[in-house]
Amino acid sequence: MEQTELQVEIPSVLKQTSCQNIKGFDCVDYGNGNNPNPLENAISDKESYGESIAGSKITKLELQEVVIISLPASPSGLHIGQTKLVLHSEKCENTDQNDTKNPYPQLAKQKKFHSQPILVRENGDRKVVHSEAIRDHRFDPFKTWSGRLERQISNLRGKATQEPDIEAGASERDEIEEAPGVDRYFDALEGPELDTLRATEVSVLPEDEKWPFLLRFPVNAFGICLGVSSQAILWKTLNTSPAMSFLHISPMPNLILWWAALALILFVSFVYLLKIVFYFEAVKREYHHPVRVNFFFAPWIACMFMALAVPPSIAVNLRPFIWYILMTPIFILELKIYGQWMSGGQRRLSKVANPSNHLSIVGNFVGALLGANMGLKEGPIFFFAVGLAHYIVLFVTLYQRLPTNAALPKELHPVFFLFVAAPSVACMAWAKIQGDFDYAARIPYFIALFLYMSLAVRVNFFTGIRFSLAWWAYTFPMTGASIATIKYTMAVTNVVTRSLSVCLSAISTFTVSTLLVYTIVHAFVLRDLFPNDISIAITRKKPKFSKMLSHFRSSSADSKDFDSSISKNSEI
């Protein structure tokens, strides 16, 4: 009630204060509050406003203190520092923060201000939660349509809207609207997964606060699906292959793992779909990241693993249309990425080649394997050919370790295990296409084995590396090598091959379980499974704006200083 009163009062207040009550205010006659010089009006006369408002309202509302809101009107720059404080009445029943933020919606609309988030100093016991307001606007440019989608949805749900058409500042908006060029990613980030910000760079989003969960959910999360579903394939192969029957593995592990993998895929896909819907700009930036783009193949590869691992009790023969459905997105992604290698100026292979590119190659071989399993003939050969040609190119490039290649890590890192993935899946695919494990399949198998051995003997170099979610993606090559060894054992059965199969399967199972423990610990105990995803928050240009951004940061730090007891939302 008071709110509507407030709102109704406002135009009349403005009219009153327009020319008569404010001394020294130079204005032409305006009817509805059209102020030719809004900035002056806003800044210079806030006290007058306050007085007039106080004069007109205090008697009506019997407030002890006065609501004063002023709207700095400059549409550019970052203005936390310029926002004025607002005294808030204890007795005012106006609990709805939305209104106090913008008591003059009409004014704002007419002037087309870029209204700023307005801080409220809390008096007494009332804790006003405003950090969410700040965070909201800062993350807006990462949201779909800059947050308008969210406001639409909350409109639909009946919540009162926050300020319409909030923009966080034109320069910041420009910073984020276009995804940075690939050079920026290499300049600003370092590390084998290009996920650490260099010391000379600043992030567009605040680094010391926890971002919204969806913004922290990277596409690497699909790596978990890859790891678990490849384990399901392993246990199915152990169960069904006659050469390994001496182990007497039951079908239960396959069944359990398959359902677990299904649940995981559904969950991760659902969350990522939410991210696409609500934070499309962030997804776009991930797509332009030279390492993360390869993980966009991961959901489809995981689905194909699921189709390969389907327990015999559920389905034996899958329909071919599944294959077509799963390969179409891979084909389209491939056209884009391999075409960029060949012809793209900025994204040429000699520059962007990194071990994660193996994920895009493996997609071809997994598709060939699945298609051959289903009995298709030409499609598997098509994808095998494409994968082989590009695998040769990538393999040579990575082996060369060109000096122009910025992305290759100098030190050893689990990402190198991806080298093992492509040849092991390729050998299985070829064996299935040809019908038996002939020499053309054995050659890639031995290459995979060699690469595995050369990494395994250097395992002590892997210690001391920060755990990240992407490590799950590196387990599936190990599992793939184990499965390839089992297939090889089926062709060449003797003690050596059998013990090799058992050994490799044991190693891969052990690794996956260890990783599972790590993940659970990080998720529930340490609660840092999803850290702030810095790699999507790099600036589009080298921070000339670093001064502004540091001002922004220090201002926000100031605002936090005098809002010392603002409680942060406990995000997930």
Partner: protein
């Protein structure tokens, strides 16, 4: 002159540095002042055409000869080209002979022009040999001759004359191989990493076409020899081109149509292996599918070719030959793998190649001015290289 030589304006398909013939140098070297400069150069004798002519014109002969081969293959009784066969067989054999003759005449004319140029403008030819794009097109006449030989309705492959002609056309290819491939890994300024560009695939295609014809003649060993030469260097070249070293970025925007050569090389390899192994086995299929994929990849990137499509030039002829070879490979594929999709593929690709070639012929007839060269692309390049070192 020195400052002009250093400015490589890459809007033209040649490297447009002011020619020797022009005393008043138009330093931008673009073709915007074509009328004035054409009149200036027209004042000099017709021999200036020879100066401006270059081996890139053999693209026309490549296109026409491969078209003749395509028509011949489609008309073969073994081709099960359901829809096409009815059309193709209604066209009288006279039309095939006409097409073949046109191709032969064009090729002979171009060869004659080039021979005259060799005698009268030897410096230009030497400069062309040194250029990283021009040197590859020296293979083009021999490839055209080989394809014409294959497409001829007058000779059978086991004819003695046929074999002699094959030898006559393949020996230059091998000689050029030794020169150019040897340069790739031995010579100082012309390492592969520096000179590799999409037109280098023409050298590979030369070997593969030679292998294809040899296998059809029955000379399996020579066929396998040339095939292995071609495929090995293709592997190296494929990797290098994909890596796109900075040094290899020297292809002018007007020459972007030569990217279609990415399609031609695997298709030719597929055809060659098909005739060597007498069946379209898995290896052939893989090569054919690779070229299909590269075709899809290039066709889905129209922005790559936008700049080169602004003006008609002889570089546009580079579209025709790869499409025709792809259609040929699709024909072989459809012969081996019977079914609806392979036939549809063959139909679509053949029609596409015929349409493109016809369109190019129409364009050439309408815009003859544009197709004649305006600049001498190689002499001044040579001078620039000589003085800049």
């Amino acid at each position: 002159m020195a400052q002009n030589q250093r400015r490589f304006n890459v809007t033209n398909h040649q490297i447009p540095i002011p020619t020797l013939h022009q005393s008043t140098t138009n330093s931008t070297g673009t073709d915007t002042g074509t009328s004035t400069r054409a009149s200036k150069t027209a004042s000099s004798s017709d021999l200036s055409i020879l100066t401006r002519f270059h081996a890139g014109y053999f693209r026309i002969s490549l296109a026409l000869c491969s078209q003749a081969l395509l028509w011949k293959t489609l008309a073969e009784p073994t081709t099960d080209a359901r829809a096409l066969s009815s059309i193709v067989r209604t066209i009288p054999s006279f039309a095939f002979i006409l097409l073949w003759s046109i191709a032969l005449l064009t090729l002979l004319l171009l060869c004659l022009l080039y021979l005259v140029r060799c005698f009268l403008r030897f410096r230009s030819v030497r400069a062309e040999l040194a250029h990283h794009v021009g040197m590859n097109y020296l293979f083009a006449p021999w490839i055209s001759f080989l394809m014409l030989l294959q497409a001829t309705p007058f000779l059978q492959p086991d004819n003695r004359l046929y074999r002699i002609l094959w030898c006559a056309f393949s020996v230059p290819i091998v000689v050029l191989d030794v020169k150019i491939y040897g340069q790739w890994f031995t010579q100082g300024k012309r390492f592969l990493s520096m000179v590799a560009n999409p037109t280098s695939q023409i050298t590979v295609i030369g070997n593969l076409v030679g292998a294809h014809v040899a296998a059809q003649m029955g000379w399996k060993e020579s066929a396998v020899c040339m095939f292995s030469l071609g495929i090995t260097h293709y592997l190296v070249l494929f990797v290098t081109l994909y890596q796109r070293f900075l040094g290899s970025d020297s292809l002018p925007a007007m020459l972007r149509p030569v990217f279609f050569l990415f399609i031609a090389a695997p298709s030719t390899a597929s055809l060659a292996w098909d005739s060597i192994s007498s069946s379209f086995d898995t290896g052939c299929k893989m090569l054919f599918f690779l070229s299909l994929f590269l075709f899809a990849s290039l066709v889905s990137r129209p922005a790559l070719f936008k700049r080169s499509m602004r003006r008609f030039s002889v570089a546009w002829w580079a579209y025709s030959f790869p499409l025709t070879i792809l259609a040929l490979a699709a024909t072989e594929y459809a012969q081996d793998v019977k079914g609806v999709i392979p036939n549809v593929l063959m139909l679509v690709l053949s029609v596409l190649s015929v349409v493109v070639t016809l369109a190019l012929m129409v364009f050439t007839a309408l815009k003859t001015n544009d197709i004649l060269p305006h600049d001498d692309p190689f002499v001044c390049y040579n001078i620039a290289r000589g003085t800049s070192t």
